[in-house]
């Protein structure tokens, strides 16, 4: 009996030991570790996988004569799962690049692995600006948006429109606190005042008691420093409890998928900041419609970002002539990004992909003329204004 167990164990170990050679042979391996089933599954999730696949197909399916493969898994919003899966792919599957989706906590854990294993890591959908600050690595590229840009967009637009006193409803983890900090900085700098904040556990079932706290603060603006279904549920409860009639909600991070599920009647007039919108110009509309044909919804900025990041990486590999991480990163840093996602974007020394951000206001049902016609442009913010003109000084490898 004992002998047979031992034999089986040996067989399993033998399999595990032989797998790396099998996977790495003549392939370029891209991984995607994202929330596929939780609060952020709708903003990136399956749609982001589809977008990455579109990019691979558009690129021709091969680079430097090697087949491009995409591995995907669900991190379940748990940093340990994200980091260990990344490590496993790096050690056993010959991973060349990682796309990391929503959740700042998970992305910070994965960026440590990227630094240690020297694998380019595109963080798309994690908001935390510390990914290119205190938690930066030479291999991290932060795409689509970060908490600094969101604060600079939405908070400054609202304070300038008279929303001087704020109360925050904050998701209780790295992303929420960083978003609240960045918005608070902007509110204070523009002569506003923060009257309080309440931290809500990620994925809370019921927001009503937190919203009553916000209401009793007497602030003018309800700053929602959360995202995904948390944002949707807090907006819904705010309407249900009549809080939106006294306070003006501010979406510090809202995706078009959220607006779609809440409907314009609930969200009209809401200010938000986005890195991309399908209805900006001919190129974005073309990409939006191609994606729509596959997924039956318009892409979010994360999903468009997945397409762009995959494309930029493959272009850099082609230009550098190899998948060597340092060569590819150098190539990425010296190339301007001009595609359906942005024009004139660039990867700054600390890893932020600096590009134009858009402050939007949600249309009223009467203003919306066709399906998914949801936003009107308030301001196109140049990349330096959104992300700051200098690299983040707290980034450790820049200090050396």
């Amino acid at each position: 009996m004992q002998k047979s167990i031992l034999t089986a164990l040996c067989a399993v170990l033998a399999c595990a030991a032989t797998s790396p050679a099998r996977a790495a042979d003549g392939q370029v391996v891209i991984g995607d570790i994202d929330d596929l089933s939780g609060v952020y599954a709708d903003v990136a999730g399956q749609g982001a996988i589809e977008a990455a696949n579109m990019a691979i197909a558009d690129f021709g399916g091969t680079v430097l004569g090697r087949k491009i493969v995409l591995l995907t898994t669900d991190h379940q919003n748990k940093p340990d799962i994200g980091a260990s899966k990344f490590r496993e792919w790096a050690d056993q599957s010959g991973l060349n690049m990682l796309l990391g989706g929503s959740n700042t906590g998970v992305s910070i854990a994965m960026s440590k692995v990227a630094g240690a294993k020297k694998i380019p890591f595109f963080a798309i959908g994690a908001g935390g600006a510390s990914l290119t600050g205190a938690d930066c690595t030479p291999y991290t590229v932060h795409y689509a948006y970060d908490t600094t840009a969101l604060g600079n967009g939405t908070a400054s637009a609202i304070v300038k429109n008279g929303g001087k006193t704020w109360f925050f409803l904050t998701a209780d983890y790295a992303f929420g606190t960083q978003l609240q900090e960045s918005a608070t900085r902007v509110v204070n700098a523009n002569g506003g005042k923060v009257q309080g904040a309440v931290r809500v556990p990620l994925g809370a079932a019921d927001f009503s008691s937190f919203l009553l706290q916000a209401q009793s603060s007497g602030a003018q603006v309800l700053g929602l420093a959360n995202a995904g279904t948390d944002f949707v549920n807090s907006m819904k409860a705010a309407n249900e409890f009549g809080i939106t009639s006294a306070m003006k909600p501010a979406a510090l991070l809202a995706f078009i998928a959220d607006i779609h599920s809440l409907g314009l009647a609930t969200t009209q007039g809401l200010y938000l900041t986005t890195g991309w919108y399908w209805d900006l110009n001919e190129e974005t509309r073309a990409f939006g419609r191609r994606y729509f044909a596959k997924m039956n919804k318009m892409p979010t900025m994360d999903q468009a970002g997945y397409y762009s990041a995959t494309m930029q990486y493959l272009n850099a590999v082609k230009a550098a002539g190899s998948t060597d991480p340092d060569g590819v990163m150098a190539q990425l840093r010296k190339t301007k990004i001009n595609d359906a996602f942005t024009k004139g974007g660039y990867v700054r020394a600390d890893g932020v992909m600096v590009h134009t951000m858009y402050v939007m206001q949600v249309k009223t049902p009467a203003e919306s003329k066709y399906p998914w016609d949801y936003y009107k442009l308030i301001k196109a913010m140049p990349g330096e204004e959104a992300y700051g003109s200098q690299p983040d000084a707290t980034c450790p490898f820049l200090k050396r």
Binding site: S37, A205, S209, L212, Q213, T229
Partner: protein, 295 residues
């Protein structure tokens, strides 16, 4: 603005109101647990799972079969009760003669299987369930806007709690039930089919959990994990009220909801643990619970 201890009165009243809503759920859930424990001696760890299945019954009924809220308020508890009866007939009844720990382990396993199956089918993100048309809108109470649906939850669950209490404590059926738990053989000698009675009691307790599930569907996201997050609190409520005490479960359910609400005004960070602190204090002071009879 009027204030008590520096906290504005409207804030206190608002949280009290929400506490009452939460308390109604606690009462309904702990009532089912107390009935099952009091009459069967089973520590039903699957209670949270049956609550979750009730909410999913409402969701699936609406999505797949086009059955509205009111239909599912009736059918949901019935369907889940049948499931509970199957669990009792197939597994639980073999364990009555053993230590209650075995029942606890079995029902815990049942809960994990139910959660796993729903997780595989529906994923872990919550599913949206609309508020029924008849109960939309809000009541302006002066200090807050109370959504009509939440007012309905308070009324409905208190009504069901009172009816259940009256049936068990004030009718001859209830008397037979209570007698059967005291001395099953004697009651059987009177020509009463005790095993059927026990099965129906378990089904009834499960139906209460499922009813709470249907009631909660429009308020919270319908998700596979909604049961496990609430079942621990509900157990604490039952312990505080006194294991098996029907009245204790109802009263302490409501009271703890309200206390939790008040904690959110004074010190929000403690609102998740206040129930357990009270449980610890009650266990030290009165091990049988507030309404329990000393053994």
């Amino acid at each position: 603005m009027t204030s008590v201890f520096g906290v504005p009165l409207p804030a206190i009243l608002g949280q009290l109101m929400l506490g009452l809503v939460n308390g109604s759920f606690y009462a309904l859930l702990s009532l089912g647990l107390a009935v099952i424990f009091g009459l069967l001696g089973v520590v039903n760890f699957a209670h949270g799972a049956f609550y979750m299945l009730g909410a999913f019954a409402a969701f699936v009924g609406w999505q797949k079969f086009g059955l509205g809220y009111w239909w599912m308020l009736l059918l949901g508890p019935l369907i889940v009760a049948l499931l509970g009866i199957a669990v009792e007939r197939l597994f639980l009844r073999h364990l009555y003669r053993l230590d209650p720990l075995y029942g606890l382990l079995l029902t815990f396993g049942v809960a994990m299987i139910a959660e796993g199956v729903m997780h595989a089918h529906f994923g872990s993100s919550g599913n949206y369930y609309p508020v029924p048309g008849l109960l939309r809108g809000g009541l302006h109470l002066g200090f807050m806007v109370l959504p009509v649906y939440r007012a309905w939850v308070i009324v409905a669950s208190l009504g069901v709690c009172l009816i259940t209490w009256a049936v068990i404590e004030r009718t001859s059926l209830g008397a037979t039930l209570r007698a059967a738990t005291e001395n099953a053989r004697l009651v059987q000698a009177f020509g009463i089919n005790v095993p059927v009675l026990v099965t129906c009691t378990y089904g009834g307790g499960v139906a209460l959990a499922a009813l709470a599930g249907v009631l909660s569907a429009p308020i919270i996201q319908v998700s596979p994990l909604m049961g496990s997050s609430v079942v621990i609190v509900v157990f604490a409520v039952v312990v505080i009220g006194g294991m098996g005490s029907i009245l204790g479960a109802i009263v302490s359910g409501l009271a703890l909801g309200v206390i939790e609400g008040l904690t959110k005004v004074v010190y929000p960070e403690a609102s998740n643990i206040v129930v357990f602190v009270i449980m610890a204090l009650v266990l030290v002071w009165r091990p049988a619970g507030l309404f329990g009879r000393d053994p």
